[in-house]
């Protein structure tokens, strides 16, 4: 073990209570950061699932013939906002109706294909295009009714944005607190070892000899607490995988079309947390040395 690590370990042992409280606060920060990233990715994935399901259903008047519907479908297929189109004829509608109501023969007897409307299911690549599409289709001649589940999707989007904003604020606050905690801890160490540092300087210690154990101390706080948070995130990822909450996997907003199992994502997240821990500890200790070590 390098000498600077053994010196830093003795620093940590001398200030056990302070070290434990620092690690606790920083662990909370990294757990929050991990949870926030998870929430963002989970909600993005859920939104994508919902978007896949979300569609505008256009019901046609009886006098709107299949030829006209086909022409309209051709027109819509050229619209860049539209990702998929499914035509449901009167006969298809009756088949679906029969399938759904197969246990109710009385109801089935009273319904024929002629009374069910033909419809066109329109799916949009982006959920925000559903509303304008619905508005445009409503005023087309021959369209009886347009339905889409605007509320569910927009509410989900609204709440996921709120969670994202609040979570980001919390993480930022805790990052600042953790950064201050690293600086405060090292300030205590520097103050308590002021005479020792002075003596080291007199007898010919290099800057690195004095500074490295302090840098290691900050990096240790950051890495150890982010490691605990990483373990928690991996357990969460494995739990989500086993519960099969996202059968297709998790989708990342910046990687369209790519889905990965939650446990794989949790390992990537762990690396992000460990890197954040390292940077927070390194920057905090560097600033504390610059500010408080008159060397």
């Amino acid at each position: 073990m390098p000498k600077s690590w053994s010196i830093f370990m003795s620093n940590v042992k001398k200030e056990k209570l302070l070290s434990v409280s620092n690690i606790l606060i920083m662990t909370v920060t990294f757990v929050l950061l991990g949870l926030l990233i998870n929430i963002v990715v989970f909600s993005q994935t859920a939104l994508r699932y919902l978007e896949d399901q979300a569609q505008v259903t256009v019901f046609f008047k009886d006098d709107f013939t299949e030829d006209k519907i086909s022409a309209m479908k051709d027109g819509l297929s050229k619209d860049k906002r539209v990702s998929a189109l499914v035509y449901v004829s009167k006969e298809d509608a009756l088949r679906i109706f029969r399938e759904i109501n197969k246990d109710e023969p009385v109801l089935l007897e009273s319904v024929s294909a002629s009374i069910l409307p033909a419809s066109l299911e329109v799916r949009a690549g982006n959920i925000s295009n559903l509303k304008p599409l619905a508005e445009e289709l409503k005023i087309v001649d021959g369209v009886e009714e347009v339905r889409y589940f605007e509320d569910v999707v927009s509410r989900f989007k609204f709440w996921s944005t709120i969670v994202y904003i609040v979570g980001t604020l919390l993480v930022l606050i805790f990052l600042v607190v953790s950064y201050s905690v690293v600086i405060a801890a090292l300030r205590t160490t520097i103050n308590s070892k002021g005479v020792e540092f002075e003596i080291m300087k007199i007898v010919g210690a290099s800057d690195d000899y004095v500074k490295l154990p302090l840098i290691h101390q900050g990096v240790f706080f950051g890495l150890f607490s982010s490691f605990i948070a990483s373990v928690i995130m991996i357990l969460l990822g494995v739990g989500v995988t086993l519960a099969n909450i996202f059968p297709k996997g998790l989708g990342l907003g910046f990687l369209p079309g790519i889905f990965m199992p939650p446990w794989v994502f949790s390992i990537i997240l762990s690396f992000i947390l460990l890197l954040s821990g390292f940077l927070l500890g390194y920057l905090g200790s560097s600033v504390a040395i610059k500010k408080y070590l008159n060397y």
């Binding site: 005479v195 003596i199 007199i202 007898v203 010919g204 210690a205």
Partner: protein, 228 residues
């Protein structure tokens, strides 16, 4: 070639208030020189300039023929290992034993455990503290503490020992012991520069005396005397 050379050195901590004013002197290798003068005369500043804790505004300081003003920051530790410093207040670590206090000087230079185990007892033997090796500073007299500080300064086998009022905080009975140790080290070839305002010591030792007042060299005499 002189071992230490101050060439027209001026130093001021506050603008316009010179602590050293155009100071010039040379010290040959193996010399024992007192730097005397009243408090605030600039004695300690000479020591701080030599260890590069401070830098002069004007002039140059040579050590073994090389200017220490041009030394890179990374090389300052090397300079400090060639110059041992002893302070009036000992500057020992109370939580460490005598052995460990001396070992600090070697640890910072990345000496091996074997080297430390060999050198520390040697230097403690030189100052006569072998039996107190595992005592703590609180268990020692003032004179013994100063001897530990001298042993620590000797650990790197420095070319020069700078002693800043080394007898200022020790009982009169121990003063002779400390001076005896310094003379012994000097007799082995190490240059000693001792700042003091104790005229009895200076007059008894009959060494070279550099007198400084208000930052200026007033006199520089071999076997000189000092009257405060």
């Amino acid at each position: 070639m002189p071992q230490i050379e101050f060439i027209n050195v001026s130093k001021e901590y506050d603008p316009g208030k010179k602590v050293l004013d155009d100071v010039t002197f040379k010290v040959e290798a193996g010399e024992f020189m007192f730097v005397v003068g009243p408090s605030g005369a600039g004695k300690s500043t000479i020591i701080k300039l030599l260890t590069k804790e401070e830098t002069p505004e004007v002039g140059d300081i040579l050590f073994n023929g090389e200017s220490i003003l041009n030394i890179l920051k990374e090389s300052v530790p090397d300079l400090r290992r060639k110059i041992g410093v002893v302070f009036q207040d000992f500057r020992l670590l109370d939580s460490k034993t005598v052995f460990d206090n001396v070992a600090v000087a070697l640890e910072v230079a990345d000496s091996s455990l074997e080297e430390i185990r060999s050198i520390v007892p040697n230097v403690l033997n030189m100052v006569g503290l072998t039996e107190k090796m595992f005592k703590y500073p609180k268990q020692l007299s003032g004179g013994e503490k100063q001897k530990v500080a001298i042993a620590r300064a000797l650990a790197h086998e420095p070319d020069v020992i700078l002693a800043d009022e080394p007898t200022g905080m020790i009982d009169p009975d121990s003063v002779d012991d400390v001076l005896e140790v310094l003379e012994k080290i000097n007799s082995l070839g190490t240059t000693i520069l001792m700042a003091t305002h104790d005229q009895e010591i200076v007059n008894a030792m009959k060494k070279r005396v550099l007198r400084i007042e208000r930052g200026q060299v007033i006199s520089d005499k071999k076997g000189g005397k000092y009257r405060a």
